[in-house]
């Protein structure tokens, strides 16, 4: 259970939160560790990548309303495999039975440096409040065209708390742009990636959704759907996608577990999620533009059978059904300011047969569900400043064994319910320098508003102010 859209390499939390997790019962810690240590510590690669700018000769704002939000051109660039280029290349045309070569003269490398400050309303027990991270994270990207039809967004990230680099969001794709179907244009391709929804084109799905940045030191709610970051960088997938007539988008990927840092072949002992067979992900979306209105509505989902801590035996089953929308309005009268509204709803039905049968059990019973609702509205003042208000809610089946009591991270009543809001102000004095202030407030956290962990902590004790500077070059 990751936290909805609190992607971003919270590996930092590995030290702090994992120590909390280790205090839980053995069964519970397995599941919690899965979400907290694997997914919460994933910092969203919410970025505009300068090597794309160097490759295309276009400013960041050509593809982004504000990084990482893609406009129509940015979506097209991604759809076509990150390959559009206006810069010199080493090339040799195909002749007879010889292969062609189209190689960028410059290796498409980029770097990002994030530094941040976080303060929670109530200090976490035994720790100092007011936390300054310098850096919070540093990312290196191999992002650009590899060949005429093949390109990548590949990221490795150094995390200050973990003190090492680790593989981050990656999407390598091959695209064809010359297709026709029923007389209309068909752009199609293959993607290899390590995070369901990272290949998506819109900012209403989890991998690239709001909030675009987040702290890695404040507590985050425990419950979250698997598609909402729960498998990020813990799977490897191969999929296909197609956009027909610039309107209708289809994508599907099959995933297998790929545990970074664990021995191969996978014996399952390291990890909470071990995909049995293959886990399919699907996506259908319709987009249209008329006048200054840009609209997308879609659905996505995933099904997974998994055995915690093993590769044989009983299986837990998860099925996520989700819907999403995105609306952008450009206002010419106001210097082309843009209003963006996004939202998603995820319904997860899970059948925790293996967890309930485990000794000791890690779930109290078999049938569970989670409902996740996220929405946000943003106003872009040109490309320099944006303000966003977001709301989130997670509700579902209460289970004191699945969501056990623990200080700060636990639930005294077994309820997964969390609700709250986020205010964000971002200022980009240059298109590659971002300054962000973000306030996250909770009305309920892990099932309660007061004393939710039965250790005296209130939901609003986890309210946080987060200030971050990002340098992208």
């Amino acid at each position: 259970m990751n936290w909805p859209s609190f992607p971003k390499r919270l590996e930092s939390g590995l030290n702090g939160l994992c120590s909390q997790v280790s205090k839980l019962s053995r069964g519970a810690s397995f599941r919690l560790a899965a979400f907290l240590c694997v997914t919460l510590f994933w910092v969203q690669g919410a970025l505009a990548v300068p090597s794309y700018s160097r490759q295309t000769g276009l400013a960041c704002s050509s593809c982004h309303y504000a990084p990482p939000e893609l406009n129509a051109f940015g979506r097209k660039f991604k759809l076509e495999g990150y390959t559009f280029s206006t810069k010199p290349e080493i090339s040799e045309d195909k002749k007879d039975h010889n292969s062609a070569l189209h190689l960028l003269e410059a290796l498409p490398l980029s770097a990002v440096f994030d530094t941040s400050f976080t303060s929670t309303k109530a200090p976490q027990p035994g720790t100092q409040n007011g936390n300054f991270e310098f850096p919070q994270a540093v990312s290196l990207f191999l992002a650009g065209a590899w060949a005429s039809h093949v390109g990548s967004f590949a990221q490795v990230t150094y995390d200050a708390q973990a003190d090492h680099f680790s593989w981050d969001n990656t999407d390598i794709r091959a695209a064809g742009t010359n297709g026709k179907l029923f007389g209309k244009q068909l752009t199609y391709g293959l993607t290899m990636n390590n995070n369901p929804t990272v290949e998506d084109l819109w900012n209403s799905t989890p991998a690239w959704g709001f909030p675009f940045v987040s702290t890695n030191t404040a507590p985050s709610p425990t419950a979250g759907a698997i598609i909402n970051g729960g498998l990020a960088q813990d799977v490897a997938g191969l999929g296909g996608y197609a956009m027909w007539n610039d309107h209708l988008y289809f994508a599907g990927t099959i995933y297998r577990s790929e545990h970074l840092g664990a021995s191969q072949p996978n014996d399952g002992t390291c990890c909470s999620f071990n995909i049995r067979g293959m886990a399919p992900y699907w996506r259908v979306a319709y987009q249209t533009t008329y006048g200054n209105h840009d609209i997308e509505i879609g659905t996505y989902g995933m099904h997974m059978k998994s055995t915690p801590g093993a590769i044989t035996g009983a299986e837990d089953g998860y099925t996520d059904w989700a819907g999403d929308f995105q609306y952008n309005l450009t206002i010419p009268q106001w210097k082309n300011d843009v209003v963006s509204v996004r939202g998603t709803y995820i319904r997860e039905n899970s059948s925790l047969v293996a967890s309930a049968a485990a000794v000791p059990p890690t779930a109290g019973f078999v049938g569970h569900h989670l409902n996740t609702v996220e929405g946000d509205a943003e106003y872009h003042f040109g490309t320099r400043v944006s303000t966003t208000v977001g709301l989130f809610s997670v509700t579902g089946t209460a289970d004191p064994i699945l969501f056990p009591q623990a200080p700060v991270t636990g639930n005294f009543n077994g309820s997964p319910t969390s609700r709250g809001y986020i205010f964000n102000v971002a200022w980009w004095p240059q298109q590659n320098i971002g300054l962000t202030a973000q306030y996250t407030g909770y009305t309920r956290f892990n099932g309660g508003s007061t004393n939710y962990d039965q250790a005296g902590r209130n939901a609003n004790g986890n309210n946080s102010i987060y200030v971050m500077a990002r340098f992208v070059f």
Partner: protein, 106 residues
């Protein structure tokens, strides 16, 4: 599962190589470098074209320009349009100028 993997592998082997083949000719050059914004028919009537306010290449405004002027725009870029002078050879740019002329006749 093994049979599924075999189907996937087969599909990759069949489909993938055709994508990697380089395309030739003014039409494919236009498709790969220009259509992203200007649309395949040159109208600029694509989501990306609308986002960047790409010109309608069939319009009187564009077609009234001389070949040298159109070539100059492709080579050096203008407003949000990037320069292609480093990427394309002069004869490729001339092919594109010719293709832009053809668009008005379609």
């Amino acid at each position: 599962m093994n049979s599924k993997l075999r189907y996937v592998s087969f599909a990759l082997l069949v489909v993938f190589p055709s994508w990697l083949a380089a395309e030739n000719g003014a039409a494919s050059l236009f498709k790969s470098k220009c259509a992203m914004c200007h649309a395949e028919d040159g109208s600029g009537n694509s989501p990306a074209g609308k986002a960047l306010k790409a010109k309608d290449l069939r319009s009187q405004e564009t077609q009234s320009k001389s070949d040298a002027e159109i070539s100059d725009v492709i080579t050096k870029g203008r407003n949000k349009m990037p320069a292609f002078g480093q990427k394309l050879k002069p004869d490729q740019i001339q092919e594109l100028v010719g293709y832009v002329r053809q668009l008005a006749k379609k």
